[in-house]
Symmetry: C2
Subunit: 395 residues, 2 copies
């Protein structure tokens, strides 16, 4: 029997262009929001996990978890930084989960963040590409957009996904982000504007064929934070806290072209299977989902590989409105990476924050009514390290 | 009652100048050595923790834990990189400990490594300085050697430590390293050669007054690895496995000058207190110790702050031979960071490997006879994040 882990506080910063603040300022802001939300004495916090992919490379600060601990007056709490590419946030939450589950710790702050917009775009693209295979991919000039473009082409050929479906992911997620005050991109996007019309070519230029500007998440600054704790603390504070009911994490072959089926996201499937098994739940139980749509195709592919739709049918579910905010299985009510933004180290934590808000009915205009069970997946590398969570709140 | 955690395999690479190999090669070599040592089917390994402080900055590879997982054919095992400055190794072992203790995992590979010697020394010094306080230290040109030099001066003034004592740490640790085939520096150093003689000024030039060349660890390449597991697996393989009996981790104020007593290493004390409490042991029980002597003064100061000697008396214990290999409490039988070397992300793991070897009586010429209980501390930043372990092996 694994000891239960509760989320008792959530915090975020506005995602976007935060050029006047440093990474540590963003981490601090999100952390303070989470601690205030939990309403506990900060001296109860025994450990801090910071997720950031590029804190050293982009902000010239290493061992940033120790620095944050001092800034937040949490000394002598334990502190570690976790780096797992774009799945750093999921990994940080996983390690906090295990630390609570072990019985050693009772209250832990998790905060993920990235400060990206002070650096030129080509530098960011190159740094993100350092997670690809060094000799099979990186050395040949492979970047994340180029991998996503090749993956999209394979998916289109195999499953009949069309460019219109990609655009529909963007339209849906931009629409959701309009209702999320923390989202980076808060502008309405229409199918006419980015796909159907003559102006679409101008509005939505080609970046890596077949992917266009609106198929990609923006480069964002931001941070997100949760406070997790054991039942001992949670049950004193809340009648019905949000619980991390299960998690899963799986790796895959790093070089996409070396996988037996490059269109299959095995690590998504395995991590989801593990999370549902630990949570003792089924896919049908889930009311709301956050997926890692760094590229539009990924929302479609993950929705299938995580087991919500049969492989090759995610685009049909999208077209039928099933994944819309008012659909049967809303995906990315937050706006997703596409529109909420993707400060890399923050993303995995931001997904869990959004789901916890949904389960607590604190999601404002984008509230999924009656949501009690939720799933997310945080996608590292090009799917070679994925962390999944199942959350629940009993009412 | 916390679930027990066992070390069933240990592996290292030779530390030193490994310019023909990449970081991933070193991590792989150490990991394979640990897996072979454990003698288990590698498919039992469910998770991998990689500690590295500067994998992105120095080797242009991020999310290296996922890459290693693939290289070692451990896919789909979970994988995370942990970065906590020079205490990254300790943090990785701590997280593996918690993961086993939680009951979620039964077998985990931990491997730490750094590839430093392909980069110019001034770049390394600057990158290491990025763990200091950005506005109170780094911006003013503070480096790790300059912090250590100021700390040494304070210690000399307050406690009567002399330059000769610093040299004695180096002489002792170089002597021990002669017996360690994995050590980076394997040459005899004498007090005459580096301190008493006229030639000493040439042999041992001033680097940051009062610190000289032999007061500092070298810049090394290398990796170290352990395989940890639950009793379920360990008890099938071994009659008396090495156990991680306790751990502790504590942070401190980041800027050294802002601490109420800059000569006190509070995080060392607190982390040691926690580790001994969890292990239900006393300092007197310990037979062998590994300390984080990145600078000679640190071995002396840590031996006091970890509670083995009264504050201000560590240099006397050293002078009396208590910390020598044949003394009452041998410190750094491996040669320590000073002579075994300090590939930053590897160090915390290498300390635990040395102690496990000592407890298994596999330490060859440097074996501390009858050692059954051991302690180490892995020192991050300038003491603002310290991880301690107490190991035991019942015979």
């Amino acid at each position: 029997m694994i000891r239960e882990v509760n989320i008792i506080g959530c915090g975020m910063t506005k995602f976007g262009n935060r050029s006047n603040e440093g990474l540590i300022d963003l981490l601090k802001e999100a952390s303070i929001n989470a601690i205030k939300d939990a309403g506990i004495n900060h001296q109860l916090i025994q450990a801090v996990y910071v997720s950031s992919m590029l804190s050293g490379e982009l902000t010239n600060q290493t061992a940033i978890a120790s620095a944050l601990c001092d800034e937040l007056c949490l000394v002598p709490a334990a502190a570690d930084r976790i780096e797992n590419g774009p799945a750093s946030g999921g990994s940080a939450i996983k390690n906090a989960f295990l630390a609570i589950a072990s019985g050693v710790y009772d209250a832990i702050l998790v905060v993920g963040g990235e400060k990206m917009r002070n650096s030129p775009g080509d530098k960011i693209t190159d740094l993100l590409a350092t997670m690809t295979h060094p000799t099979a991919e990186y050395i040949h000039g492979v970047t994340m957009p180029s991998l996503a473009a090749m993956f999209t082409r394979l998916y289109m050929t195999k499953y009949g996904v069309e460019r219109k479906h990609l655009a529909m992911v963007a339209v849906k997620n931009h629409e959701n982000a309009l209702k999320n005050p923390y989202a980076h991109l808060q502008r309405r996007v229409t199918l006419e504007g980015i796909f159907f019309s003559r102006e679409a070519e101008v509005n939505n230029p080609l970046i890596a064929e077949p992917l266009r500007l609106y198929d990609m998440c923006p480069i964002s600054d931001g941070a997100a934070s949760i406070l997790v704790c054991s039942n001992k603390i949670a049950n004193k504070l809340l009648d019905s806290p949000v619980k991390i009911a299960g998690f899963g994490q799986a790796t895959d072959i790093q070089a996409v072209s070396q996988r037996s089926d490059p269109t299959e996201l095995k690590a998504v499937r395995l991590s989801a299977d593990q999370a549902f098994k630990m949570a003792k739940m089924k896919r049908e139980d889930i009311d709301v989902v956050e997926l890692h749509d760094a590229f539009t195709i990924l929302e479609i592919a993950e929705s299938e590989n995580a087991g919500f739709f049969k492989r090759g049918t995610g685009h049909i579910a999208l077209e039928e409105g099933i994944t819309a905010l008012d659909g049967k299985l809303p995906i990315n009510p937050s706006g997703g990476l596409k529109a909420r933004g993707h400060p890399v180290g923050a993303t995995g934590v931001a997904q869990v924050v959004e789901l916890a808000w949904q389960l607590k009915e604190e999601a404002g205009e984008r509230q999924v009514q009656g949501a009690q069970k939720a799933y997310c997946c945080n996608f590292g590398g090009f799917g070679n390290n994925v962390v999944s969570f199942v959350l629940r709140r009993d009412q």
